[in-house]
């Protein structure tokens, strides 16, 4: 048993069209590495220099990892992870 990850539409080409994938990881850094192993190219989309990219929000269940422990946020079996692009702009 691992965690379930909801994949946003722009990354689903990398996950062979899957909107949800499962993997095993103890924290967000491990999760990104685990996803990269199964879906090469996804790490570069999600992070830069080991940090989650700005304008990408990651939630563990309903908690934004920025308000927990960022990339070190601990994961446990059965957690639901959501990767959500920010909505922003300006004229």
């Amino acid at each position: 048993m691992g965690v379930k990850v909801r994949i946003p539409t722009p990354l689903q080409k990398l996950t062979n069209g899957k909107a949800e994938v499962e993997c095993s990881a103890r924290n967000i850094t491990e999760l990104v590495d685990a996803l990269e192993k199964d879906y090469p190219g996804i790490k570069e989309r999600l992070s830069e220099g080991g940090k989650v990219r700005r304008f990408i929000n990651i939630y563990v269940n309903d908690e934004d990892i920025r308000f927990v422990n960022k990339e070190e946020t601990v994961l446990k079996d059965g957690d639901n992870i959501s990767i959500v692009p920010a909505i922003a702009g300006g004229c």
Binding site: R53, A86, G89, C91
Partner: protein, 150 residues
């Protein structure tokens, strides 16, 4: 085409006017090209030329949209001193960072110009594959009838 009731359209305009002189923003839940629910939201980076949805509120609203059995058919924001057309920043932020992959394909970006606050102008756009295409907004009396084009 994106259809929206007169009442929901007024909610968008009211929220944009209330946020003036800052940009205001929100999400649109619906199905089959029709808006069923307007979510006026907080601008977490308030300014006359910037907006960013509060990440927690965005997550909560997107969850609510799913739980209502709806889809995110669009999002809106205001241009307090600009035209109802996506800016270069709007276009850049519509894509996954560093790519030309639209973050929310098929969601309509509704932009409300408040250049004339007595007569706000709203227009809808798809931003995908490097192109901005206008999507007509149709304001309806009720969900099943339409009265005017914008």
């Amino acid at each position: 085409m994106l259809m929206i009731t007169k009442t929901d359209f007024a909610r968008i305009l009211d929220h944009c006017l209330a946020g003036y002189p800052h940009e205001a923003c929100g999400l649109l839940g619906g199905r089959d090209g029709k808006v069923a629910k307007v979510y006026p939201m907080k601008n977490a980076r308030p300014g006359p030329t910037t907006y960013e949805m509060d990440p927690e509120e965005q997550f909560r609203v997107m969850k609510d949209i799913r739980e209502e059995g709806l889809a995110m058919v669009g999002m809106f924001h205001s241009h307090p001193g600009g035209h109802a057309y996506p800016s270069s920043v709007d276009v850049e932020k519509a894509y996954w960072p560093g790519t030309r992959l639209p973050n929310y394909p098929s969601a309509v970006y509704v932009i409300v110009s408040l250049l004339d606050r007595a007569n706000p102008v709203a227009r809808g756009y798809l931003i995908e594959e490097g192109k901005v295409s206008e999507i007509p907004l149709t304001v309806t009396e009720r969900q099943d009838s339409h009265i005017s084009m914008h």
